[in-house]
């Protein structure tokens, strides 16, 4: 084991100059991201994200009464995320039944988003977040969290902060940000991270691969930097929908806006759109 890692590090030093990523990005460059909020008229809040070739829809229903009732908590609300991949989202076709992987991602995603909410405000209720992966291209759990956070804000649910998420990893001896499908599968390691910029906390952290302690720590830092960039894109997406309501001149004001404005403005807005 130690031999192979040594080989990889030396290789990294020599090849650093001419090394380029599969899709020509810089090591610390994100894939193009497009987020749109309010894409599902029936949902209380929704968002569509394209992150590279990932195409993901997130819809929020609630806070609403919990069904089945026995799962509700008398002192607080429950956040329930469901991550689900469409059968045609990957190659070859996958079964639409939820896999063990889907269930695990749903769990860690719930953990990643919950710290941003005030669930103590909604006893006996549930906030449902449904994620449908229309097309997968590596890093779906991160993209899903980004979409879910925007959808929750779109639903007018008060939040401590938006949750931003991004992966970093090691490919061909280089530490890189926001792994694509190929880099995810063939790379040495992958670390998805979710981050709340305002309170400076990491709420999703997973890792798979082989990396030294130092590299792992660097990767987490790199991913956090990526999350901060995505945070701005998420805010832009919300401003696009709600900006016209109050005119977002100052950034700081705009930050607060999606948290408060939607509750009253949203129904009127959606009617207009249709």
């Amino acid at each position: 084991m130690s031999k192979t890692t040594k080989k990889k590090t030396t290789k990294r030093k020599t090849s650093k100059k001419q090394w380029a990523r599969v899709d020509g990005r810089k090591p610390d460059e994100l894939r193009p991201i497009h987020i749109e909020s309010g894409v599902i008229p029936n949902a209380d809040g929704s968002a569509y994200i394209e992150m590279g070739r990932n195409k993901i829809i997130a819809g929020v229903y609630g806070p609403r009464e919990m069904h089945p009732k026995r799962f509700s908590k008398p002192n607080m609300g429950i956040l329930r995320c469901r991550y689900h991949m469409a059968p045609f989202s990957v190659d070859p076709r996958r079964s639409p039944a939820p896999s063990r992987r889907d269930q695990e991602i749903s769990m860690v995603m719930t953990d990643a988003i919950e710290p941003a909410l005030f669930l103590e405000r909604y006893p006996r209720s549930v906030i449902d977040v449904f994620i449908e992966i229309i097309e997968a291209d590596g890093g779906t759990r991160c993209a899903s969290i980004n979409a879910a956070a925007v959808a929750l804000a779109d639903a007018g649910i008060p939040m401590k902060d938006l949750v931003s998420s991004c992966a970093a990893g090691k490919y061909d001896g280089n530490l890189i940000l926001d792994l694509g499908d190929h880099e995810d599968k063939k790379g040495e390691s992958d670390i998805p991270v979710a981050y709340l910029p305002k309170i400076d906390q990491v709420t999703l952290l997973q890792m798979e691969g082989i990396m030294t302690q130092e590299e792992t720590e660097k990767c987490i830092e790199l991913a956090i930097e990526g999350c901060k960039q995505i945070y701005e894109i998420q805010k832009e997406a919300l401003k696009k929908k709600y900006g016209m309501v109050e005119g977002a001149e100052e950034k700081e004001e705009a930050e607060e806006e999606p948290e408060e404005a939607p509750e009253e403005e949203e129904p009127a807005e959606e009617a207009e759109e249709e």
Binding site: E104, Q201, M207, I210, T212, I220
Partner: protein, 267 residues
């Protein structure tokens, strides 16, 4: 007894004691309970291990068989890790499909082994695209008193480490024949998980059931013998700061070495 709620009084006591740097059972914050490990005690499985960590009791069985490879890796063997929450292990556990935590347990242990490339899967192919060797690792929980991930990860490593797999012969027609010979599984790495729990401002390892109920969140980190990290899994509805994460990684590296010494000493 039959519910999984820790009373408020007990909850407060546990957090108060931990805030003073001690534990309810007298341990230090970063001290494991005593490990008791027995390997190769089952005749019908290729490898087995029984792990007792305090009152937590798990049995890990390794079976080797023949199966179909995955489409994208026609020559590579398949390893599967499954966790079973048996109803004898805890009053709140019931027979039926595996609960979420059992799925996570199996997947986190699996990820640690797989990411460390513990077994060279390419050597387990028999007939390309048709027959490969399968390695099943079953984690069987018999009594639950916290920290299942670490106990199962240690058990899985101990069981794989002593496993003797049956050798197979491929005839000219491409048929698989069993032979009487067995061969030790060659492990390329020895990864172990260490779970660090956050409780208030304190970090502790090896929580008991009560401590697990009270904890805010946890980070499980799998480390191999070269100090490389193989897997991380954060759980719980809280956030960790970067400093806390770095602290957890340091704790894990240190503790994994300690546990490895205990487990590999038993051979």
């Amino acid at each position: 007894m039959s519910n999984n709620i820790v009373s408020r009084l007990k909850r407060k006591k546990i957090t108060d004691v931990i805030a003073t740097g001690k534990r309810m059972d007298g341990r230090e914050l970063l001290q494991y309970r005593d490990w008791e490990i027995k390997t190769n005690f089952l005749a019908k499985s290729a490898g087995s291990a029984e792990v007792k960590l305090g009152k937590t009791h798990v049995v890990v069985g390794v079976k080797v068989g023949i199966g179909h490879p995955f489409e994208d890796t026609p020559d590579a063997g398949v390893m599967m890790v499954n966790a079973e929450y048996t109803p004898v292990a805890h009053p709140t556990w019931e027979p039926g499909p595996p609960p979420e935590d059992a799925i996570e347990l199996a997947r986190v242990v699996d990820r640690g082994l797989r990411a460390a490339e513990i077994i060279d899967m390419d050597k387990l192919g028999l007939v390309s695209g048709e027959k490969v060797q399968m390695i099943f690792v079953d984690l069987y929980v018999l009594n639950y008193d916290g920290n299942l991930i670490d106990a199962c990860s240690a058990g899985a490593l101990a069981a794989l480490n002593t496993a003797e797999a049956q050798k197979f012969k491929v005839s000219k027609k491409g048929e698989i024949e069993k032979t009487d010979k067995t061969e030790k599984l060659k492990l390329r790495a020895h990864p172990l998980s260490v779970t660090v729990c956050k409780m208030g401002d304190s970090l502790i390892v090896d929580p008991t059931y009560d401590e697990e109920e009270v904890k805010d969140g946890r980070i499980t980190i799998t480390v191999d013998e070269n100090g490389n990290l193989n897997a991380i899994q954060k759980r719980g509805p809280i956030g960790f700061t970067l400093d806390e994460i770095k602290k957890c990684i340091n704790i894990a590296s240190e503790k994994a070495a300690e546990i490895r010494a205990v487990i590999l000493a038993g051979e």
